[in-house]
């Protein structure tokens, strides 16, 4: 099979353009509701250990655990049934570095905030921290997921990976 260098160059440009376009159109790298669900579980656990009477504990833990299991199953289903899951070779490693940094930062921030609220004498510091972190994660997770997708799409645009 013989083709001219111009045809080869055009084919390569088309390959790159196709990959860049579909990665831009792909859904966010992860469903942003999922970390919110995890923080809701964590906050629920703080609520039942800090505020509610003791007899609530096992009922609430069972209900929260069922909720978490449902969230995990839906997360797996959403990922598996996504319109497009970027191939690992296409994903920008810095996107995962950013994701890990966000995960560690939100985890540490939650712990530090709980201690700080306790020092300030805030009532129910762990539960208040949980609610605060739900808001923080609900705002930042969609931005993070979109940023990761944008980095991956930009990487597909560059000639050499």
């Amino acid at each position: 099979m013989d083709i001219t260098p111009e045809e080869a160059a055009r084919s390569l440009a088309q390959v790159r353009e196709t990959q860049h376009r579909v990665l831009r159109a792909a859904p966010p790298m992860f469903p942003a509701w999922y970390p919110v669900a995890v923080w809701t579980f964590i906050t629920g656990m703080q609520f039942v250990t800090e505020i509610t009477p003791a007899w609530w504990f096992w009922i609430a833990v069972a209900a929260l655990s069922v909720g978490l299991v449902v969230a995990v199953l839906k997360f797996v289903s959403d990922i598996r049934n996504a319109n497009l899951r970027p191939h690992s070779s296409m994903t920008d490693p810095w996107a995962w570095v950013g994701f890990t940094a966000w995960l560690v930062t939100t985890g540490l921030a939650g712990s530090v905030l709980a201690l700080w609220f306790k020092e300030l004498g805030v009532a129910y510091p762990r539960t208040v921290t949980g609610v605060t972190m739900i808001v923080v994660v609900a705002v930042t997770a969609p931005l993070l997921a979109r940023w990761m997708s944008a980095r991956t799409a930009r990487r597909a645009e560059t000639p050499k990976r």
Binding site: A8, L12, Q19, N83, H87
Partner: protein, 102 residues
């Protein structure tokens, strides 16, 4: 590594489908169709041919009650794509051209 042009993926539409799938673990039928601007029948025909060549895996499932189809490249398909792109790059490199914008 010996890179060669693969006639099974050389046609423009086939190359577009395979390059889209090379960027994905899996891609859904309607997503592929809409992003490549091709019809259902054209996509079905090429996907079946690529599946017959052993390059594409087809998974059928449901989202809610709606049937869906997902495509992914097999290991052979990914190797064929990599070899095809390497062969194209070699042709371009020998000529001293750079990749054209369109």
């Amino acid at each position: 590594m010996t890179s060669r042009l693969d006639p099974a993926i050389h046609a423009p539409t086939r190359l577009q489908i395979v390059s889209l799938l090379a960027a994905a673990e899996e891609a859904e039928f309607a997503f592929v169709r809409d992003n490549l601007g091709i019809s259902d029948s054209v996509l079905s025909k090429h996907a079946s041919a690529l599946e017959a060549a052993g390059y594409v895996r087809i998974r059928k499932g449901y989202v809610g009650k709606r049937p869906r189809t997902w495509f992914s490249l097999t290991r052979e398909g990914r190797a064929a794509y990599t070899g095809h792109v390497a062969a194209l790059q070699a042709i371009v490199a020998r000529s001293g051209l750079s990749v054209l914008p369109d």
